[in-house]
């Protein structure tokens, strides 16, 4: 059961602080939990974990490929490793290690990739992954999630700690938008319906959930009732929720802080094409590289805005 926040406001605490605090809590309960980093401990605010559990925090230095292999090896001895670095290095740079040493070998690795998409901001195009979700979706049995807010993040970390297998947790480091109240419960692989409506459905994850809700507000004023699904688990995709939305609303717009190739849009399109073909549109990065700028600038530059979602909703409704 989910309890929605009343307003669309920022979370008071940064996600990285929640990540560290939750991992410390989990580590207290499970002595096998270990954390690894590739010289970005400070960026993810893991100092407290390292202080609390100096032996269980492994700073590998700047060697992402080795870190993923070490994490996989540790898991073979019973450890539950959470390995963090920036998302492009966690996925693209160490992909074969994740694919084989973790995925193919069926080991128990939790990968945390921070600064997804435009949240990389001033680090620019080299640090701005629009492909990480696509890459990780291509690893069989991998679970791919992007926690929407602090409440979802805590849930995801607890689930990852107790569920065997490869998890990719795509994580903004800074303050997210608060969508859920404490006490909400979630299920991996199940979308959250965060707004009811029967004219059209917007499916979003990550920072685009806020934009989807803003778009729904704008559209309501124009007499369009929008359903909004928070698809925080991108893989396995919640097929039932997509098919239900297709049957009940007849049109879908997906939106993501990621390339439209390989991401949520394609996952939803596949479900629709095979089960309930209806008009759909995708809002996302249109097959270009990242670039430097503030998040607001980049959101406009890559059309990751409520306004763009509104335009795509109108377009899809014309096709309905």
């Amino acid at each position: 059961m989910i309890k929605l926040a009343n307003n669309i406001d920022k979370e008071p605490i940064e996600m990285r602080k929640v990540y560290t605090a939750t991992l410390i809590e989990l580590a207290k309960e499970n002595e096998n939990i270990v954390a690894l980093d590739a010289d970005l401990m400070s960026a993810i605010a893991m100092g407290d974990f390292a202080k609390t559990y100096p032996d269980r925090f492994i700073n590998c230095g700047i060697q992402e490929a080795n870190m993923m292999g070490v994490a996989a090896g540790m898991s073979a001895t019973g450890k539950v490793p959470f390995a963090h670095t920036f998302a492009p290095f966690a996925t693209r740079r160490a992909y074969d290690q994740l694919f084989l040493s973790a995925g193919y070998a069926e080991l128990n690795v939790k990968v945390v990739g921070s600064d997804p998409g435009i949240t990389a901001q001033l680090n620019g195009g080299t640090h701005m992954p629009f492909e990480d979700v696509g890459l990780m979706r291509l690893i069989p049995n991998a679970v791919v999630v992007e926690p929407t807010d602090n409440t979802v993040l805590k849930f995801v970390l607890k689930e990852a700690a107790k569920t065997y297998g490869l998890f990719y947790i795509r994580l903004s480091r800074k303050n997210s938008t608060k969508v859920y109240e404490e006490g909400s419960s979630f299920t991996i692989g199940k979308a959250n319906t965060i707004r009811e409506g029967n004219d059209v459905t917007i499916i979003a994850y990550g920072i685009m959930v806020k934009e989807a809700l803003l778009a729904a507000n704008i559209l309501k004023e124009q007499g369009i009732e929008v359903r909004v699904l928070d698809m925080f688990t991108i893989k396995p995709i919640d097929k039932d929720a997509v098919i239900k939305a297709a049957k009940e609303t007849g049109a879908i717009v997906t939106t993501e802080n990621h390339n439209i190739i390989g991401g949520l849009g394609e996952a939803v399109a596949a479900v629709l094409a095979e089960n309930a073909p209806i008009p759909m549109e995708r809002v996302g990065v249109n097959d270009v590289f990242g670039k430097v700028g503030t998040q607001d600038y980049l959101a406009k530059e890559f059309n990751l805005t409520a306004d763009e979602i509104v335009q795509k909703v109108k377009k899809v409704l014309e096709r309905k």
Partner: protein, 272 residues
């Protein structure tokens, strides 16, 4: 079974069964499998703390064969030790086998899945660190190829092992002087591999990789080191024991019939 003569006999058996196993499918990575048989005989003939009836015992010693294409030699060794029936070797690379050409941890006794070169090095360090953190006193053995040392990941792992003081790691480099496309000196010359590991802070030795007694002694010496990982560079000959292919070009992967395998067995036993 730590008598030198017994280890030599065991190595010969491993070579024979490896060749028969590969002949069952008609083609395979023979050269690099034959160059590691003496090491496998020493490790599984007495050095490693293992129990074929309990292959997942958490206190066991581990072996990561990072040059994963040498899987058939490991499989033959494990079958001879009783991890699974000898007949299972006949299924190598056949539909639904538990023995794919590259090492797979789903087979009993195979400690890690490998095949993409360099990755076993990091996996071994993770295993060694995980076991150390859990307070276990076991060893993690790692087998690398000399060609494999072209991979940057090997050196990331080497740096890591020293930084984390993984003295429960003993690595071997099968320095058989050849890689797939030719001689390592012509393709990507690694120079003095032992010196390179020393520069990374490892305790390094270089020995004759076909001398079981030398291997035994080197492992014993490595275990006396505290606080640093150890490497033993094995000077070997690719396709060792298969006279017409020993050290010759094209011996990385070649065709072989069951008739060839039987002749190999006859020849190697005659040379005992």
């Amino acid at each position: 079974m730590t008598k030198v003569a017994d280890l030599k006999t065991f190595a010969t058996k491993i070579r024979i069964e490896t060749i028969k196993e590969i002949a069952g499918i008609g083609v395979g990575h023979i050269g690099g499998a034959l160059s590691i048989c003496d090491l496998l005989a020493v490790l599984y003939g007495g050095v490693m703390n293992i129990d074929p009836k309990n292959p997942c015992d958490e206190n066991r010693d581990w072996l990561i064969v990072s040059k994963g294409h040498s899987g058939p030699a490991l499989y033959a060794t494990l079958a001879l030790k009783g991890y699974f029936p000898m007949d299972t070797l006949k299924t190598l690379n056949k539909p639904d086998t538990i023995l794919p050409s590259h090492c797979d941890r789903h087979a009993p006794g195979v400690d890690m899945t490998t095949g993409s070169l360099g990755q076993g090095a990091s996996l071994a360090m993770g295993i060694a660190l995980g076991n150390k953190l859990s307070g276990r006193n076991n060893y993690t053995y790692l087998l690398l190829g000399d060609g494999e040392c072209n991979e940057g990941q090997v050196w990331e792992a080497a740096m890591f092992a020293n930084n984390k003081k993984l003295d429960n790691v003993i690595a071997f480099v099968d320095d058989n002087k050849q890689q797939l496309d030719g001689f390592t000196k012509d393709i990507s010359n690694m120079g003095d591999i032992a010196a390179k590991f020393s520069a990374f802070g490892w305790n390094s030795q270089s020995i004759d990789g076909h001398d079981v007694e030398a291997i035994l002694n080197a492992i014993k010496s490595a275990k006396e080191n505290e606080g640093v990982p150890s490497v033993i560079v094995l000077n070997t000959i690719k396709a060792k024991g298969y006279k017409k292919w020993e050290g010759s070009p094209g011996n990385h992967n070649f065709n072989i019939t069951m008739e060839d395998a039987l002749q190999f067995e006859k020849d190697i036993l005659a040379n005992e």
